[in-house]
């Protein structure tokens, strides 16, 4: 219906026709320290009506490749070589030869190739109305007048399933949820009916159920319009779910490409095999997992009706208190030697729950009881500061962010030795123990003198684990301990934790948003939603036969890293009414 207004758009092409061909693309950043070859000799093809997934871990050059196509590589980056061929009805343009700032290039951006980005929070201007930002594309690339643009924007918002589009058009981005913003971004990208949509990790910052919806939406819009999609992701599950073709990038190079089934089931390159292997590994319970302790095993932690209520003052004089129940009446029992997973989406209260157990966050109600080695019950929620500090040797925490949880101004030895030092250990004894711990987490002993900035993310997480283990704890609260790591490292760190658990008789409260990590690592799992535990049971039972409709929705929204077993299309959708 709008085709007529976006001129120059090729019509009636056959599916499968290549619409965008990248040949031998090299993009280099001229840094002070020397040239950085972000993309080297990369070639791939986007076909009409098809989805090409570019997959790779952080630093693989996949985002730079996408930006090279649109010629929006940030300085000091430049395209060194290669052709970027955009096929039109009558002619083909080599985007690499255009001036990045030329009107010709600008006429292509947003009109024939458009792009959506990872961060739905910051990718929209916070001070302009959503409608204004979407209409801008129309203003640039079509001849529509203002009322017509507005009508078209409302139509677009309706197409991306934003409720009440007539009102939504005049809202600001901060009034939207994350998923809604990403929908608005998609509406913006599709405004001029582009031939190619480049999506750069568009679902990475979203919850898994929201991710499933956005993937659905993109697939549906693609089918309607027959555009080519170039989808950039690090998640092999998403790749298996949506890709027609896959292009694997590593260190700026395309190491393997081809149809999705071939990539997943007959990968040639070892890196591809490793990526798929790591993802597939997390599809099952860890082989090395010790058997779960029986129901008769003594408890180490009992949580009863733990609640946290946050009050924010609002309105005139701050009289109108806005109450948020971060956690409501959470109850669970962790047995000795057991690993209990807590899974939930952002805002479900899982992190608050974990931190309340350690009293890092003060609970507003309920009780948590810890049982020490002799089996004596200690009521955590009634302890004073001194009593808590004594227990902090037995209960430890592993943090999510390996960057911010290590003090950058202390050496590895000081970081790991801090709990020992505060326990009154002597310098020599600390050194010996730190060496022992470094060995345990697989780091060489001679890194003791170094500062955290000299380590990579995975290594830092190992240091964090060593610190948690230093005073020989019995209980560890791990808060998203693997979430900041690339998939290939995730399994490694989990295996390390399993190994240590076996040796040290540890119990874990393991918090994660990632159900596959939980399934790999945990014995039982508690599913949290909006502050409440909706389901709790053995991992296998919950994963195979979830009882609560939300758990079912959550599980079915997780993409499976196997293109032969796609399931998002048939997934279970959780509707609010079902719960209440």
């Amino acid at each position: 219906m709008i085709d007529a207004v976006c001129q120059g758009r090729p019509m009636h092409d056959r599916e499968d026709d290549p619409v965008l061909e990248v040949r031998g693309l090299s993009t280099t950043f001229d840094l002070r320290t020397g040239p950085l070859h972000a993309v080297r000799d990369a070639s791939f093809t986007v076909r009409r009506g098809r989805t090409l997934c570019i997959v790779g871990e952080s630093g693989s050059g996949k985002s730079v490749a996408a930006r090279s196509i649109l010629r929006i590589v940030p300085s000091p980056g430049r395209i060194e070589a290669g052709r970027i061929l955009l096929h039109g009805v009558d002619r083909t343009t080599d985007l690499a030869t255009l001036d990045a700032r030329s009107p010709a290039m600008r006429a292509i951006r947003g009109a024939r190739i458009s792009m959506i980005f990872q961060e739905p929070m910051s990718s929209l201007s916070p001070v302009h109305r959503i409608g204004n930002q979407i209409a801008e594309s129309l203003q640039l690339h079509t001849a529509l007048d203002k009322p017509a643009r507005r009508a078209r924007v409302i139509e677009l918002l309706r197409q991306v399933e934003i409720p009440e589009p007539e009102e939504a058009v005049d809202r600001y981005p901060f009034e939207y949820s994350g998923g809604m913003r990403q929908r608005a971004m998609i509406a913006m990208a599709l405004a001029c009916e582009p031939d190619v949509l480049i999506a750069d990790e568009p679902t990475t910052a979203l919850d898994v159920t929201t991710q499933a919806e956005i993937l659905d939406l993109i697939a549906r819009l693609q089918a309607d319009r027959g555009m080519g999609v170039m989808f950039i992701t690090h998640d092999m599950g998403v790749v298996a779910e949506i890709a027609d073709e896959v292009c694997v990038m590593f260190r700026g190079e395309v190491v393997e490409s081809g149809p999705v089934d071939g990539i997943f089931h007959a990968a040639k390159h070892p890196y591809t095999r490793m990526l798929i292997g790591s993802a597939a590994k997390l599809e099952n319970r860890a082989a090395a997992k010790p058997p779960a302790p029986g129901a008769d095993a003594p408890p180490i932690l009992v949580v009863e009706c733990l609640s946290k209520r946050f009050r924010a003052k609002k309105g005139l004089f701050g009289r109108r208190a806005v109450v948020t129940d971060a956690v409501r009446d959470a109850s669970l029992t962790l047995r000795r030697g057991e690993t209990l997973g807590v899974v939930g989406e952002s805002g479900s209260g899982k992190t608050t729950l974990g931190r309340m157990v350690l009293r890092v966050i003060e609970p507003s109600g309920g009780r948590a009881t810890y049982f020490d080695a002799a089996g004596t019950a200690v009521e955590l929620t009634a302890l004073d500061r001194k009593g808590l500090r004594r227990l902090y040797g037995e209960m430890r925490m592993i943090f999510q962010d390996p960057m911010s949880s290590l003090n950058p101004r202390m050496t590895v030895e000081q970081v790991i030795g801090e709990p020992l030092r505060n326990d009154g250990w002597r310098q020599r004894a600390i050194q010996d123990r730190v060496a022992e711990l470094l060995d345990l987490v697989g780091l060489p002993v001679d890194v003791m003198e170094r500062y955290p900035h000299a380590f990579s993310g995975g290594q830092r997480q190992r240091i964090g684990i060593a610190r948690a283990l230093a005073p020989e704890p019995r209980l560890i609260v791990a808060d998203e301990a693997t979430s900041a790591l690339d998939v290939s490292l995730r399994a490694q760190v989990l295996d390390l934790l399993l190994d240590i658990q076996r040796r040290m008789d540890l119990s874990f409260l393991f918090i994660s948003h990632d159900i596959s990590v939980i399934r790999y690592f945990c014995d039982r799992v508690a599913v949290m939603r909006k502050g409440e535990i909706v389901e709790l049971g053995p991992v296998d039972r919950v994963c195979e036969a979830p009882e609560h409709p939300y758990t079912r929705a959550l599980l079915s929204a997780v993409p499976r890293p196997d293109p032969r077993a796609r399931r998002l299309g048939a997934r279970h959708r959780y509707v609010e009414e079902v719960a209440s």
């Binding site: 006429a107 201007s125 913006m188 309105g315 005139l316």
Partner: protein, 327 residues
């Protein structure tokens, strides 16, 4: 928005109260009450003071009461527009006050306008052409502007104009308009004189704000929404003006509001050097000769008006940035 305005107005009340306390403290600081000095000056001048007059004044300002009574008497009078008696001018304070306060604010607001008009484009230029020769030059000039005290700049300017052009700059009016009633010609004369103090007062703030604008814009330029806009096909210039500059404007606007006290300060001291008929010179003489009602009133009025000025700039900011009232 209305609730926000109401809340900001309510926040002002304790501020205004504290300001009145400070001003009152300044009135009270010199030993003895003002009547003592009033009487002594009058007697020194050979005048005669009737005891009845003294009694009346004493009662009016509750000078025999406690400090609290004196404060409330003073505040009560002030709220009715009676700021006390200036023995230096032998007139009620308000007669001296308003004309001078008006000119002070005229100069300060003109300086603010000057700061805006100069700092904004230079800041944008410096950020967009980061590390260019122009950027370095402006940065250096900015630092220099921050390092030269207002009064020194005024002195140098006066010296240069006296030795090179052989005329003295100073005052806000040419002699023929000094006491003339307001007319277009007088207004024009004022504007012709105004730019020198305005430039002097505005220099330091301009220098500071160029740096603020540059830093803000550099921050904004690296935000993802800029990339989104670029991917839409916007031209660089239009993109720059519509998005990052618009967002960098917010902290810039709030900063300008906080520059107002500095500009008023600058106006006070510059006026003394250039001998402008604003509050500065009167305040100084009033303080030196302990004409405390006059001095206290000046400080009170200047502070109150400054608080109102910053309020206006905060409201402007709230209007610019929808997120603020939403919080």
């Amino acid at each position: 928005m209305l609730a926000y305005v109401a809340r900001r107005l309510l926040y002002m009340i304790p501020t205004l109260f504290l300001i009145s306390l400070v001003s009152f403290a300044i009135v009270q600081l010199p030993p003895g009450d003002f009547l003592d000095s009033y009487i002594s000056t009058l007697e020194a001048a050979g005048g005669d003071v009737s005891s009845r007059e003294v009694e009346l004044l004493r009662a009016r300002y509750a000078l025999d009461g406690s400090v609290f009574e004196q404060y409330f008497a003073w505040m009560g009078n002030v709220l009715q527009g009676d700021f006390g008696w200036s023995f230096m001018y032998q007139r009620p304070v308000e007669d001296v006050l308003w004309g001078r306060v008006g000119l002070t604010f005229l100069i300060s607001l003109a300086s603010m306008l000057f700061v805006y008009v100069v700092a904004f484009p230079i800041g944008v230029y410096s950020a967009v052409r980061k590390y260019s020769v122009g950027d370095y030059a402006f940065t250096f000039l900015g630092f220099l502007g921050l390092a030269v005290p207002n009064f020194l700049l005024a002195l140098v300017l006066m010296y240069v104009s006296l030795t090179v052009f052989g005329q003295s700059v100073g005052g806000l009016f040419s002699p023929e308009f000094q006491d003339a009633p307001w007319s277009w010609a007088k207004l024009w004369d004022l504007l012709a004189h105004l730019w020198i103090p305005v430039a002097i007062i505005g220099t330091a703030s301009t220098a500071g704000l160029i740096r603020v604008m540059r830093a803000n814009l550099l921050d904004e330029l690296s935000k993802p929404y800029v990339e989104t806009a670029r991917a839409k096909g916007l031209s660089e210039r239009r993109l720059l003006l519509k998005y990052p500059v618009r967002l960098a404007l917010n902290p810039f606007v709030s900063q300008v509001g906080w520059e107002l006290p500095a500009l008023i300060s600058g106006a006070a001291i510059t006026s003394i050097v250039l001998n402008l008929p604003t509050t500065g010179p009167v305040l100084l003489t009033a303080l030196k000769s302990q004409d405390m009602y006059l001095a206290g009133s000046f400080i009170l009025i200047l502070s109150v008006l400054t608080v109102i000025g910053t309020l206006i700039s905060d409201l402007l900011l709230a209007w610019l940035d929808p997120r603020i009232t939403y919080e």
